[in-house]
């Protein structure tokens, strides 16, 4: 762009030469020497001003012009505030929605763990657990003995860290007098040093802490902020965890919320050996806890590779150790035909489990908002094109008067930059709010605050928008050239067929995208409807549930505790009935195992699984839930350890394992054969883990007859508002033990709803984006039609003057938008088929080819198109030929 730069001295030299030449000339014309010089100087005008102008154009030209363009741009936008507001708002919605979804995706799927050098971190995985072991996850959890053996192999790994939650949900803690609940993990002493997590206050753990089972705790920055208002004095204070005192010794770095997926850990303690601090909050199993029970694979492991060692080398070193350690405490070797488990590594760069939980929906949402953005941008482009087309004569006149095309382009670019800056700022504010809401709805506890990656993403989108908005209308603006200024009629200067063609293509494209979004939204919303209307098989209204985890020394004491608790709760005013259960309904958790029926492993017809979901429950269980007992009876208080062991099954159990016989009086029991229960009742199928589960054989044991007592869930049926009973219930629990909080109290309905919270959020967002798309398409279509009608006023006037009827004029306009709709739908449906296929795994009770969704989408687009055209068509029909012809 820049040519050889000319110096100010050279310019001064030229002026001097000019003055000499001029003086020569004047002298030739007969002036005296001095007069000539003076006159030459005078005719030059202000010498200094000329030099200054020369100087200025070199130095300040850029900035000066920029300022001028900015003022010009602002002024010209101020002249059409409606246009400016629409464009800015459209852009803010489109970009804001994208930024919000992207920042969630970034936080959940893309962002690394906030640790040092995350590329060297790996999660340990096993192909399968050895036979005869129980696991939390058959590929991701290990026994303590495996951890202990691998840890001693120091050559491949620079550190190996184990971690395990103290509870499946939250654990009872107490700071001061009030019991509360928090999420806590037991971890290796090397956790903080191995991950490279800094502690801004206090210290982390050491190997020594783990050896000594030291009663110390580190709390998360988040918990410190939320619970302790960042008071530095908490260091040295005591936090009771399940009643065990722990001294707070450190606060973890901001942003580190543990290595558990989906939740945020509030505190960490070193691996402990006390029964009340067993892994997962389980009661000891036959006196064993995670430390000495090698059949319970319950620890997750994360490791840092040693410097200079790659994964293959590390695996090669660990594999034999692992395969030996896997059978420690299990007869030492695999059974006949059993495959030895194989150790492997996976990336620990991002949070585990998130991808599985949110990956697919988030990617689909991202695609959906991407389409929304396309529609929004297309709208703005059309608006700009219409606006600049109507300014064509202004541009032509300026070209004729000597303005460069570059100058016009700069001004258009500046206008679009103003729009994009304003829209972008609004979008950012909008996105921050939306991301926070999204996180709350999706129950993602990780911080979702937009970071630099998100900022870059947004800026990228905005720059793209600014260029697009500057370039697209330029073509239209300059198409006319200078001579257009000479055409005097607005009517004739705006009827070029070619120009409206690109506008029509854009509208048709928008329609197609709109169809896609509406089909996607339709499928997901129908999925949600199906889920919400799925009968649970019980009367869920009026039920409230909370967890209690007492410190119980023995099984009889536990039974006594719960009997006592239930009898106290039953007499509270407004309570209809009370029961307890081991696994909370609708929490996604269940106990599963194979079952013996009538003393043997049942033959199952056509290869169905013989897995049974079971639960340990209290008396009045089915009456409290409102599940109909089809035959026999419910559990009662008189079923005790001393009476006959009894069990209850559901229809599905009877159908699969005891077909064509009366199940009452038959027996069943766990396949290890420790206990045998006589069936005393058959109940109707109902939902156990989640709303969208299929019926599965289920069995229930009576809590008083099973030697497992730990945390139990209390279910209460009450009159009136269920949550209103909680303060009274809390008082009852704390009379029994002041250390006990109510763990995760909520209505049973809300508990079930958590199992579809992902789908709910997904469907709501998809619906929202669908509506957004419809609104954008409607405004875009309306805007472009209204504009086209307005420039064709004269033409319409002529048509009417020569005899066109109003219906014909209306039809002329409607035909146009109907044609666009048809084209849009034709292109949209194949695209929608594609999207439907991608959605398959997220649907429930709806096929990807759901006719209703497609029909609604097509009809929706058509209705929107007609509605958006109605007003411009009406305006066209009301054109008065005489006025139209006279407006010029």
């Amino acid at each position: 762009m820049f040519r050889r730069k000319r110096s100010a001295e050279d310019f001064a030299e030229e002026i001097k030469a000019h003055l000499a030449l001029e003086a020569d000339e004047l002298r030739r014309e007969g002036l005296g020497k001095e007069d000539a010089q003076w006159k030459a100087l005078r005719e030059f005008g202000s010498l200094r001003a000329a030099q200054e102008r020369f100087y200025m154009r070199r130095r300040w030209i850029g900035l000066d012009k920029l300022g001028r363009d900015l003022r010009f741009g602002l002024r010209s936008l101020r002249q059409s505030p409606g246009f400016a507001a629409t464009a800015i708002l459209t852009l803010a919605l489109g970009v804001g929605a994208n930024t919000a979804v992207f920042s969630v995706m970034n936080a959940v799927l893309l962002r690394s763990l906030p640790v040092a050098d995350p590329n060297r971190l790996v999660y340990l995985r096993t192909s399968n657990p050895p036979r005869g072991t129980g696991t939390i996850d058959s590929n991701e959890t290990f026994s303590y003995s495996v951890y202990d053996s691998l840890r001693k192999q120091t050559s491949g790994l620079s550190s190996l860290m184990a971690y395990v939650p103290l509870s499946g949900s939250k654990v009872a803690v107490r700071y001061g007098t009030q019991p509360e609940e928090a999420e806590g993990d037991m971890v290796s002493g090397a956790l903080f040093s191995g991950l490279g997590v800094k502690l801004p206050l206090g210290r982390g753990f050491s190997e020594q802490d783990e050896m000594n089972r030291a009663p110390v705790a580190v709390i998360s920055y988040n918990y410190w902020t939320r619970r302790f208002a960042r008071n530095p004095d908490v260091l040295g204070q005591t936090l009771f965890v399940n009643g065990v005192p722990m001294t707070i010794v450190g606060i973890a770095a901001e942003g580190f919320e543990g290595v558990e997926g989906g939740g945020s850990t509030d505190f960490w303690i070193p691996l402990q050996s006390r029964p009340e601090l067993n892994a997962w909050g389980n009661p000891p199993d036959e006196g064993k806890i995670y430390l000495n029970d090698s059949t319970w694979w319950c620890l997750r492991l994360i490791a840092r590779l040693a410097p200079g060692v790659n994964r293959t080398q590390a695996i090669a070193q660990l594999q034999p150790v692992f395969q030996r350690a896997a059978y420690v405490g299990l007869d030492g070797s695999p059974m006949e035909g059993e495959k030895r488990p194989v150790l492997s590594f996976v990336d620990a760069k991002s949070f585990p489990g998130y991808d599985q939980m949110y990956g697919n929906p988030l990617r689909i949402l991202m695609a959906m908002v991407g389409l929304v953005l396309l529609i929004a941008m297309a709208n703005v482009v059309m608006l700009l094109m219409a606006r600049n087309a109507s300014r064509q004569r202004e541009f032509s006149l300026r070209l004729a008067l000597g303005a460069g095309r570059g100058e016009l382009f700069r001004q258009l670019l500046m206008e679009s930059a103003i729009l994009v800056t304003a829209g972008g700022a609004l979008a950012w504010a909008f996105a921050e709010m939306a991301a926070r809401l999204l996180g709350r709805w999706a129950q993602i506890e990780t911080s979702l605050a937009p970071d630099n990656t998100v900022l870059l993403f947004t800026l990228g989108v905005l720059v793209l928008a600014a260029l697009l908005f500057g370039l697209a209308p330029l073509r239209t603006a300059l198409a006319g050239g200078a001579e257009l200024a000479l055409k005097t009629s607005a009517a004739t200067s705006n009827t070029d067929a070619a120009k409206s063609r690109s506008g029509r293509i854009i509208v048709a494209l928008q329609m197609a995208l709109c169809v896609v979004l509406l089909v996607g939204a339709g499928l997901l919303i129908r999925t949600l409807r199906n889920l919400e209307n799925t009968p649970l098989g019980m009367r869920v209204e009026g039920l409230v549930v909370f967890g209690v985890k007492p410190n119980i020394p023995s099984v009889p004491a536990g039974v006594a505790f719960y009997r006592n608790l239930m009898s106290k709760l039953r007499v509270l005013p407004g309570v209809e009935s009370v029961t307890i259960m081991e696994s909370r309904l609708g929490s996604g958790w269940s106990n599963n195992s194979g079952m013996m029926v009538d003393g043997r492993i049942p033959d199952v017809a056509n290869g169905s699984s013989n897995t049974v979901r079971w639960n340990v429950v209290g008396p009045d269980f089915f009456r409290t839930l409102g599940v109909p007992v089809l035959a026999g009876r419910d559990f009662v208080d008189s079923d005790t350890a001393k009476s006959q062991p009894v069990g209850i099954i559901n229809e599905e159990f009877a159908k699969r394992f005891l077909p064509n016989v009366n199940p009452l009086g038959r027996t069943f029991g766990p396949d290890k054969g420790q206990a045998t229960m006589t069936i005393v009742g058959v109940v109707k199928n109902h939902k156990y883990r989640s709303i969208n589960e299929d019926p599965i054989p289920m069995a229930w044991y009576m809590y008083a007859q099973i030697p497992v007592i730990g945390e139990m869930q209390v279910e209460m049926r009450v009159h009136g508002e269920p949550l209103a009973i909680l303060p009274a219930a809390r008082k009852v629990v704390q009379q029994l033990d002041p250390n006990l909080p109510l763990i995760q109290p909520m209505t049973q309905r809300a508990q079930y709803d958590t199992t579809i919270s992902g789908q709910t959020l997904f469907a709501r967002l998809a619906g929202f984006f669908g509506i957004l798309a419809v609104v954008l398409v409607a405004t875009g279509l309306y805007g472009s039609l209204a504009y086209r009608v307005s420039v064709r006023t004269a033409e319409i006037g002529v048509r009417m003057a020569v005899g066109a009827r109003r219906e014909q004029v209306v039809w002329m306009i409607l035909k146009d938008s109907l044609l666009l709709t048809v084209v849009g739908v034709l292109f949209g449906i194949p695209l929608a088929l594609f999207v439907g296929r991608a959605l398959t795994s997220s649907l429930y009770g709806v096929k990807p080819l759901d006719a209703v969704s497609y029909l609604v989408a097509v009809v929706g687009v058509a209705v929107v198109a007609l509605a958006a055209s109605a007003l411009p068509a009406g305006r066209a029909a009301s054109v008065d030929p005489m006025t139209a012809l006279r407006t010029e």
Partner: protein
Amino acid sequence: MATQESNDDRIALLQGTLDLLILKTLILGPCHGQGVARMIQRQSEDVFLVDHGSLYVALQRLEDKGWIRAKWGVSENNRKARFYSLTPKGREQLVEKTSEWRRLTRAMGLVLDSGDGTQGQEA
């Protein structure tokens, strides 16, 4: 601010004309700034009084656009001077601007010469 803006408009108009006049003058051959000013003045029969300061800024602008180029040389009376000549691009511009200008003036002329026609369209 408003007055400043209207000033800009006036300059833009002058700018367009002055550029055209400079290009037209240079079609006759290379010439220095003072010569261009004189020539414009003479050929317009002294209607245009060229402000010399503006002239040099305009020359510089045209040079920046690549429509003219400049070289230091010696004038007929042996004075050092900067000589401007048309580039091929400048030639094209001259043709284009001239025809544009012709059409504009013709259109203006048509309108201005059409007498009282402005009122006669009703019937």
